[in-house]
Point group: C2
Chain length 199, copies 2
């Protein structure tokens, strides 16, 4: 005996999502049956609409419903700084800060030789072209994650961009605000010591 | 700055699912953007189809695409036994065993005074009607879960059904096959001792 086909197919679809196994997929499918009709319809339409209407900005690579994206179109933003991030989510995190008013460049990944990911597999070439074509940009701020891959990617981009005479900086590493020294890992403590500043 | 509307709406939809918070919803939404077009379309259609085409069997309460369900329609199954379960998933688990060929009755919940769930809120009345109308049924096997609510629900149904002269049984409780006594909880051990059988 198997589940009726409509529910079996829904379970299959849920199982295609990352981190969702067969048991969770079953639970989500049964939950769907009990959801409001309107919510299910909205969900169904949102899936297709996101896939159809979301594109990557041809300038910075961030996700957008219109090309170029809102940030790249906004000429009131500082045109001389570009923050390079791994993912669109990172742009959101930095924007929430409300302190940065420059531009972005989204790599969509990091260099990772183990996974066979080289410079051609992430959005690096378009960054170089952008810097060559846009002489307003004076500083590239590398904001890849503080992981080995993120560090390596930052180093790679720095070596690529510096010879063109553009200032290249990296976000500071150190103790998170509100965190305890007691619980900080060794690498973080080392980076915090290394980057200490005179008061 | 906010996410472009198509992705924001998809994140909202994912967040309506149980156990999925805003971070996971974001992750799933971005994953959706990278999925095959065909998979997203299939997912979208499966949501609507499941909601539209899945109904509850008017006889047993199990989910089905056609009423009555496949089990209730199948006259080759034993018509004298009914297993009472909490959820459609429980029917699937029992069918996988391939040893039971009788009928089912799905309660869609358990009695739970704390949550304000009484006999009227689960599928008990239809069970009583079914037993009154169908004199072929000789045994009701209670297979609600081995939780306090499951036990209470089993007791309630037993008291309701027994006076009609129908045999009422409950699935055995005891050690799971392949499990260690060392790790069994006290209630399970007590039930296993209580239900010991002569060899």
């Amino acid at each position: 005996m198997q589940y009726p086909e409509p529910i079996a197919r829904l379970i299959d679809s849920y199982m295609k999502l990352p981190g969702i196994g067969s048991k969770t997929a079953e639970r989500l499918a049964f939950y769907t049956l009990d959801m409001d009709n309107d919510d299910v319809t909205a969900f169904s339409q949102a899936l297709v609409a996101a896939k159809r209407d979301i594109h990557y900005c041809s300038i910075c690579g961030n996700i957008t419903a219109s090309d170029p994206c809102a940030v790249c179109r906004d000429k009131t933003r500082d045109q001389d700084q570009v923050i390079v991030v791994e993912q669109p989510k990172d742009v959101m995190a930095l924007e929430k800060m409300n302190e940065y008013h420059g531009l972005y460049h989204v790599l969509h990944g990091v260099l990772s030789p183990i996974d066979g990911k080289g410079p051609e597999d992430i959005n690096i070439r378009s960054l170089v072209t952008r810097l060559q074509q846009n002489e307003q940009i004076k500083e590239v701020i590398l904001a890849t994650n503080a992981t080995p891959e993120g560090e390596a990617t930052a180093m790679y981009i720095a070596r690529l961009v510096k010879p063109a005479g553009i200032k290249v900086t990296r976000l500071a590493h150190g103790l998170a605000v509100g965190s305890d020294i007691e619980y900080a890992d060794e690498m973080t403590l080392f980076k915090a010591l290394e980057g200490r500043q005179e008061l």
